[in-house]
């Protein structure tokens, strides 16, 4: 079994197992939604080397687009979601096109500026977005015979989409395109010198990432029935990024782990102690200090330790291989 089908099976196990462990379909849905957003972020961070602080833009836009479509047009859910994907991709193309003109920290800051810019845009155009109150009353219509009203039914719907998206992103990552992204991440100058139009690749990566993130945002708005302003603010970008980093950037399943960990741990901690952010902060520090391959790296180490016999067979350098 190759690595990528192994990871897909792991992702499928997560999608099936979540309902067994979690009392709330809503929280489980949120895990998968953020897993999609984090995987999309990983495509930029882990594969292209782009640390984007703008993922919240696409997430928030996805929420608004699905909400506005369902509120103001008679179009079916499927089309509304499709619009979110398309707008996510389009805006990501624009943001990407502008941002990748700069590199390193300046790139990060540019995406941050965009994220603030879109936040204030959403804040200022309150007639469309509901401003600080958020876009309220977003319905969750049925899809043909599928009735999504109950939270577990909706979870099932999300789980199917999640697996589709995960498989698609995996395919993207292992394609020649994905391998080229890895090269660009490693040495952009050289990539250009051997003939790759680096900017086109980066923008394409952005568009794919934006599409998936827009989709995640749409599903989130449908989950809670609101497209709140907080879905497009800076903290959303930050959270998605942090999930991605703590998962590990080596492969896409790592992002699923990161999202699950972040969402579930935040939820748990916040019920224990109002000052739970202190604990979360400490956790982030610990991850950065001791788990630089992320949760995935930790998992790999545990598996290797449990199966000492197969140590050599499992690959020399765990976290390093692209998939």
């Amino acid at each position: 079994m190759n690595r990528s089908s192994l990871h897909f099976i792991l992702a499928a196990i997560v999608a099936v197992a979540l309902p067994l462990f979690m009392r709330s379909g809503t929280l489980a849905s949120e895990v998968l939604i953020y897993a999609m957003a984090a995987s999309a972020c990983n495509l930029l961070l882990g594969y292209t080397g782009l640390l984007s602080f703008g993922q919240g833009i696409f997430f928030g836009l996805g929420s608004y687009v699905v909400g506005l479509t369902l509120l103001h047009t008679p179009l079916p859910l499927g089309l509304a979601i499709l619009f979110s994907i398309v707008i996510g991709a389009l805006v990501a193309t624009g943001v990407g096109w502008l941002s990748i003109r700069r590199q390193g920290v300046y790139f990060v800051m540019l995406t941050l500026a965009f994220s603030q810019f879109f936040y204030f845009l959403a804040y200022t155009f309150k007639d469309i977005t509901g401003g600080d109150n958020g876009l309220l009353n977003i319905p969750r219509p049925d899809v043909g015979p599928l009735v999504l009203r109950s939270s577990w039914a909706y979870y099932a719907f999300i789980a199917i989409i999640f697996l589709l998206i995960f498989a698609t992103l995996q395919r993207v990552a292992s394609s020649t395109f994905g391998r080229t992204l890895l090269a660009i991440r490693d040495n952009e100058e050289r990539a250009r010198a051997i003939g790759f139009p680096v900017r086109t690749f980066k923008i394409t990566a952005f568009a794919i990432s934006g599409a998936v993130t827009g989709l995640a945002g749409a599903l989130h708005a449908l989950l809670i029935g609101v497209a709140p302003l907080s879905n497009i603010d800076y903290h959303m970008s930050e959270s998605i990024l942090i999930m991605t980093i703590i998962g590990g950037t080596g492969n896409l399943f790592a992002s699923v782990l990161g999202a699950g960990f972040y969402v579930i741990v935040s939820d748990l901690l916040s019920t224990i102690w109002p000052r739970w952010l202190l604990l979360l902060g400490g956790l982030l520090v610990v991850v950065a200090l001791f788990m630089q391959q992320g949760l995935w790296g930790l998992l790999e180490r545990i598996i290797l330790a449990l199966r000492p016999a197969s140590r050599t067979a499992a690959g020399k350098e765990p976290g390093r291989s692209p998939l």
Binding site: S175, T176, F177, T180, D186, N187, F196, F201
Partner: protein
């Protein structure tokens, strides 16, 4: 031979770095299927010339033509599919990728748009992979095929650096000091390789090792202070008093290697 149209020509080429004129009034014609070397003191502008020819830096004036086509304003990646490839003086590899993957990418770079399809997988026996394997054996680095480039020793990296240019199967190959950092026996091998490349490619290379330059070049261009000082056959250049004074000295290097 002299009647043949040049594969690459530069006309009154100039390059500026800020206010510093690194290259001025360079006119150059590279004849197809020849081995053409560029020598000159450090800082003469040789690498800058390569940068300009490959599009890494934009010429501030002058014209570059490839097979008669004006490529002056083409970006570097757009020149690769037209048949130009290069190696760098300061090693520039994909440090975290394996040697094989480095070369596969270099081979893929000729048809970059094929790689833009996010659904297309990497075929293990695809053309690019095959080329990568060929280049590895040609350069004798098959043994480290699956090591990541960053872990190679300096000399091994230098060889891979040259391999990156070869893998693109260009018509014109530019090598910037291909033997620097190589061991004594490897220098011989490199010399043979360049000579070999010269059979079905056009080779333009920068070198400080006179043993190679004088032995295998068809034409030598000597640069100084951003300009062409002398151009001619190795014999002519070797005996030019100005070149001796400005560059060759007693030719300690190269005579032995």
């Amino acid at each position: 031979m002299s009647a043949q149209a040049p594969i690459l020509a530069a006309d009154k080429l100039a390059v500026r770095y800020g206010s510093f004129l690194a290259l001025s009034d360079v006119t150059l014609a590279i004849k197809p299927n020849t081995i053409h070397s560029v020598i000159g003191p450090n800082g003469a502008g040789k690498t800058t010339l390569f940068h300009a020819l490959t599009g890494r830096v934009q010429a501030s004036s002058g014209r570059i033509t490839l097979n008669g086509r004006d490529i002056t304003h083409l970006s570097d990646d757009k020149r690769v599919p037209l048949g130009i490839a290069r190696s760098f003086q300061v090693t520039s590899l994909f440090q975290n990728l394996t040697v094989r993957e480095n070369l596969r990418l270099a081979a893929q770079g000729r048809t970059p748009l094929q790689a833009l399809a996010p659904w297309r997988g990497v075929e293990p026996d695809g053309e690019a992979t095959v080329i990568a394997d060929q280049v590895m054996s040609r350069l004798g680095i098959t043994a480290v095929a699956d090591r990541v480039a960053g872990e190679l020793s300096h000399g091994q990296q230098r060889r891979l650096e040259v391999g990156m240019a070869v893998a693109a199967k260009p018509r014109l190959i530019l090598l910037d000091e291909p033997t620097s950092g190589m061991g004594i026996d490897d220098i011989e091998a490199m010399k043979a390789l360049i000579r070999d490349l010269g059979r079905d490619h056009t080779v333009l290379f920068i070198e400080h090792n006179m043993g190679i330059v004088m032995n295998i070049s068809d034409t030598v261009t000597v640069m100084r202070a951003g300009r062409v000082l002398v151009e001619g056959s190795p014999m002519v250049v070797r005996d030019d008093p100005e070149v001796r004074r400005a560059y060759l000295g007693n030719m300690m290097t190269g005579d032995i290697a």
